[in-house]
Structures are given as C-alpha cells and as structure tokens.
Amino acid sequence: MDTTATTTTGLWKGGRSPFKVEYGKLMMWYFLMSDAFTFGAFLIAYGTTRFATNGWPNPNEVFRSYPLAGESAHAPLVFVSIMTFILIVSSVTMVLAVHEGHNMNRKGVAKYMVLTILGGLAFLSCQAWEWTHLYHEGAWWGSNPFPNADGTISTTNFTNFFFTITGFHGFHVFSGVVINIIMLIMVLKGVFDRRGHYLMIEKAGLYWHFVDLVWVFVFTCFYLI
C-alpha cells in the first residue's frame, strides 16, 4: 500500500482511523451516550413527577441512618457521602490501571484492577445495606412510609423512582464489577501482553467511569436536592 498517498489525502480517504481510536472503543463511547439518554430519561421522569406533585419527602429525613446506628440515628448525607467517595476512589484506581496498561506493566494493571473491583464490591455492599434498611422501614416499590416534608400524605412515586433508578444504577455497578473481574483474569493470564496492547482495559475503564458519572447525577438528584 502506498503510505504517502493516505497521509496526504486527508483523514477520511481510508487506510487509517479518522477518529484515531479503535473500533471497539468508539462503539463503547456511542453505547455510553445511549446509556446516558436512558439514565437521563429516568431522571427527567423523576423530576417531572416531582414538579407535578404537591409536596415531596425530605431526603434528609429518609436517608439519615448508617450501619450499626440504631433507630434514633439522625445523620443525613453521611452514609451516602461515604458511598460517593468509594465510587470516586474506585474510578481513580481504574484510571491508574489504564495508565499502567499504557506502560505495558502487567503487575500494575492487575493491582489497580483488584482495587477497583474491591471498590465496586464495597459500593454494592453499601447499597445492599441501604436497601435492606429502607425495606425494613416499610419502603419498597408501591409502598412509601415517609410523609412529605410538611407532614402531608406522600405518594409512592418517591420510593418507586428511588428504587428503580438506584437499582438500575446498582445493576450497572454489578455488571461493571463482573466485567472488571473478567478483565483481571485476562490480565493475569497475560492475554493483553500477547496482544501487545491493553486497549480492552481502556474500554472497561470507560464503562466504569460512566457508572461513577451516573452516580454523580443520582446522588445529586436524590440525596442533595
């Protein structure tokens, strides 16, 4: 193939990737964009319902407990901020894994993948505890024990949206952990060293960061405002 011809006739004349990115990674970006619309639709449905309702439960009264705290605990935002930081830290370890992948450092990638997986599992455990706690307080799909902030009758939309959206996000975290475990096994078996690149870790990393990104929005919409 005439290499000079392709370099002089522009990005879109073939022989090279116009976006300078591998096919799989490009498709991961478009998948994540479509997933952003799915989550966006959920959150906008939640916002619309909230705007269409007289009164709404106060999140600080609902999410005020933490493990081993007992009935009278009143610590709003504390437990959820721990969950938020767990996810941010696991995102950082994921970037570091990708970085080690650039340097073709198998041990480094494996180390940071293990830390990322542990972060994901820690987040899922926190969420499992929170769901269990809310369930025992009487909250579930179709059942909302929490009155509106002003003490008036609330609708079940509050719990319906909470469990649906955090559940959908939690399912993403769960699939992310599974993907990361598969990646870790492939790293340990030396698959990427034989391939000569760690692009697969980057794609898994994109997905993992997206999960963190969605949590930024879920955390703000449900717990803060």
């Binding site: 022989g15 916002g47 938020t84 000569g196 990104l213 803060l224």
Partner: protein, 138 residues
Amino acid sequence: MDHTLESLAAEQHAGGGVKEIWKVTIILTVLTLVELGFGFMMMGMDDGLGKHFIKGVIIILMLAKAFYIVGYFMHLKHEVRNLIMTVVVPLFLFVWFIIAFLTDGNSFKDNKNKWDRNHKERSKEPMPEHEEGTHSLE
C-alpha cells in the same frame, strides 16, 4: 500511515499522566465536599429563593464534576475533535428535554390544583402514622 491496534494504543498516550490523574482526583474531592457543605447548609432552611439558589449552585457543581470525569478520567478531552463532537453534540438534546418536561410537570400540578379541588384538599391532609416495617402491598 496504516493504523494498527498497536499504533492506536500508542497514540492514546497524550495527556498529563499520573500528575493529571491526581490533580483531577483532588478537584473531584473538593467539589464533592463543597456539594456536601451546601447540602448541610440547606437542611435548616425554609423553601424559598435562597434554597433554590443553592440547589442551582449544586447543579452547576455536579456538571463540573461530570466535565472532569468525562474529560480527564474518560480521556475525552484528549480525543480527536470530531469524535468529541459526535458524542457531546447529541447530549445537548437534554437542554430541551429538561426544560420541556419540567415545565410540563409544573403546569400539570398547577392545573390540577386549580381545577380539581378534591386533589388539593387531599394533598393538605396529614399522613397517618405508619407502623414500622409494614408494607401496604402485603
């Protein structure tokens, strides 16, 4: 130049490396702490202009966090400009999406309160005491 997967992997090298990662980590941590600070500040406040203003600030901080995660952790800032555009431009649909739907919800509430007196009366009733651990479904 032919693009092989190895050459593409090598080209992904652009960016600030580990130093940039730590910088962004610190920025994300600080933004989260500020958000939490505003969250605690709002607890004692009554609904009103001040509270809505803080909520607006929190949303801006949230978007800043999103920018740092997507731009640096997901590396989008260092990609080819056309790639950035194909991902980011469709997301601007959200501007219409959010404005249209939230206004719609709000006008639904206003109309219902205006024309359905029963609905308005009912939403003023206090919530009856709830028994711990009971589910209305069961």
